[in-house]
């Protein structure tokens, strides 16, 4: 499309719009600050674990802490576990908020600065606009996960060396296998976050206050966690996206039990579908 110079062309090439969108996302100081913050987390985790030595076993607290403490103790002196542990820890709150922030800026933020109108008047049709925005948010989410996975892996290898890649089942993996496991975890986490981002994008399409999107996602995460802890609501648990998030630890077992991972993937795809179609219908009917 880029070479098409016909004056009667009625839409700008999509690739050009995507490039402009990505440049905008990755030029924004806030985006870069979030990526930097996320990058620091695995380093802090690795250093803190090494310095403090063996962490205390869990002493009660919310469910999940047991798994968390067990995971953290395995991360000690183990180059493979650290990146996955960092992903699990940030998946609970920071990564969904980073995705939500990106989705909030994409539509609500652009509406509040009046910049969305510029593209609508160009014109960019609303369906295409949503597609470009979704690509932008998805890319930023992938970058956020990638930063944690890559820096986590590097930190783990630097601190613990390449001969410490033990799974939680006790076997030791060669480096390429271990990297594959980390990539699998990162990919799975990314898809979970895309699902969150799709819902956030739908909220973003019906407000012009970016904070509303962030607050909704934060509130949603808290509510989901509370609901997930109520045994009386166990029938509801399969529908909660947050329920499967701990199963990313399964990539550290040998062989990998795929049941929970697959289940979580399907739930995420459902959220993705619902969030996406909701975003579309809201954006199309919205006043520009």
């Amino acid at each position: 499309m880029d070479t098409l110079t016909a004056p009667a062309r009625r839409t700008a090439p999509t690739s050009r719009l995507v490039r402009a969108e990505l440049r905008w996302i990755f030029r924004r100081p806030r985006s870069l600050a979030v990526l930097a913050l996320l990058g620091v987390i695995p380093v802090i985790m690795g250093v803190a674990l090494t310095v403090s030595g063996s962490p205390e076993p869990s002493t009660g607290g919310a469910p999940g802490d047991d798994q968390g403490a067990g995971l953290l103790s395995s991360a000690l002196g183990n180059g493979l576990v650290l990146p996955v542990a960092a992903l699990v820890m940030t998946l609970g709150m920071l990564l969904p908020l980073a995705s939500a922030m990106s989705a909030a800026d994409a539509l609500a933020g652009e509406t509040s600065t009046g910049t969305l109108r510029g593209w609508l008047l160009a014109p960019v049709s609303r369906g295409r606009l949503l597609a470009i925005k979704a690509i932008g948010v998805a890319t930023f989410t992938l970058a956020a996960v990638g930063v944690i996975a890559v820096i986590g892996t590097l930190t783990g290898l630097v601190i613990n060396g390449t001969d410490t890649l033990a799974t939680m089942s006790g076997t030791t993996l060669p480096l390429t296998d271990a990297l594959g496991r980390v990539a699998l975890a990162a990919g799975w986490v990314t898809i979970q976050l895309w699902a969150v981002a799709a819902v956030a994008l739908a909220i973003s399409a019906c407000t012009e206050h970016p904070m509303v999107v962030l607050a909704s996602v934060l509130g949603g995460l808290i509510v989901f966690t509370v609901l997930g802890n109520l045994d009386a609501l166990s029938w509801l648990h399969p529908f909660l996206i947050t329920e499967s998030w701990w199963s990313v630890i399964d990539v550290l077992r040998d062989p990998i039990p795929f049941d929970d991972l697959t289940n979580g993937l399907l739930v995420a795809l459902c959220y993705l579908l619902i969030g996406g179609s909701l975003s579309y219908s809201l954006l199309v009917s919205r006043d520009g």
Partner: protein
């Protein structure tokens, strides 16, 4: 794509005087609030139409419906011959707009902001984007400030950057919503000269404003909105003409002039330099001939056109809040 069946690319219309923009029975309600009610607006091709109205009279809502940003509750909108908002893809590439103030990202420079807009312009090839941005910056006098962050721009610079965004590519219609908001007199003059340039190039301009002097100085046509309704539209000169025309006759002999005119049953009253004659029952040449025939010395006679301000005040006076409380 919003319009599935739009295979025909309509070129510049050669089919006579199709208006650049037209609305019929346009109505927009928000809940129980009627923002715009039965507006039949015509923006003739090549005109500079000033859209006037007090704040909240529906100017911006009408413009937003013209541009397809808002779907009308009722009525039709045609922009450059295309139904809006369904055929926006055909109409909007030829339309430049600055609506509801300039909208740009504070952390990007003016130039980068325009490049982001240019990326979405269908008429621009990727190779010509940078050149078009530089030209637009030069046109509004922002060449030197183009590299600075938008965050640090003054109100006037922001407004001019918005104008540059509307003029990235040659347009057939340019829509400017309150373009001189926040501009100093020099900035206002610049906007005027940009509008004059566009007009000379045959571009239709729709400019909304509540600054009457600005409209009077730049526009060929006027549309007056009040309370969501279109209360007057047409050529500026005609509208002003139709407003109770009068003739100001400058004479040293006011008494003789008044006697002559009243003998002819014309309404006349003393004015600072002579008399003022209502031209309701006689034309200006008649009056002058009559006075000259009666031997009244005349220094000069000028038809006093009602100012736009008077016209506007009369058309919109109902909206002035009249005290509803009664003693």
């Amino acid at each position: 794509m919003t319009a599935p069946a739009d295979t025909v690319v309509a070129g510049p219309s050669s089919e006579g005087p199709a208006p650049a923009a037209r609305t019929r029975g346009l109505r927009k309600t928000y809940g129980r609030t009627v923002a715009v009610d039965h507006v039949d607006l015509d923006v003739p091709e090549g005109a500079v139409l000033g859209m006037l109205g007090p704040n909240g009279s529906g100017k911006t809502t009408t413009i937003r419906m013209l541009l397809g940003l808002v779907r009308p509750t009722e009525g039709e909108v045609e922009l450059l011959g295309h139904r809006m908002p369904d055929r926006a893809a055909e109409a909007l590439p030829d339309v430049g707009a600055l609506v509801e103030g300039p909208g740009f990202h504070p952390f990007l420079s003016g130039r980068e902001n325009l490049l982001r807009l240019a990326a979405a312009e269908p008429r621009l090839t990727s190779a010509r984007m940078a050149g078009a941005v530089d030209d637009a910056l030069e046109r509004v006098g922002l060449t030197r400030a183009g590299g600075r962050r938008y965050r640090g721009y003054s109100l006037g610079m922001k407004q001019r950057l918005g104008l540059a965004g509307a003029l990235l590519v040659p347009r057939r219609l340019v829509v400017l919503d309150e373009p001189t908001n926040g501009l100093d007199p020099a900035g206002t003059r610049e906007i005027r000269s940009v509008i004059a340039d566009l007009h000379r190039d045959g571009v239709t301009v729709l400019v909304s404003s509540h600054l009457l002097a600005e409209v009077e100085a730049t526009c060929t046509h006027v549309a007056v909105l009040n309370d969501g309704a279109l209360v007057a539209q047409g050529e500026l000169a005609e509208l002003l003409e139709s407003e109770s025309p009068a003739l100001e006759v400058s004479t040293p002999d006011t008494t003789a002039a008044l006697e002559t005119l009243r003998a002819a049953h014309l309404t006349a009253r003393p004015a600072p330099d002579g008399v003022r004659v209502e031209l309701t029952r006689a034309t200006a040449p008649d009056v002058i001939a009559m006075l000259a025939g009666a031997g009244v010395p005349i220094h000069e006679a000028t038809r006093s056109r009602t100012g736009l301000e008077d016209l506007f005040a009369r058309l919109t006076q109902d909206s002035e809040e009249s005290p509803t409380w009664t003693p």
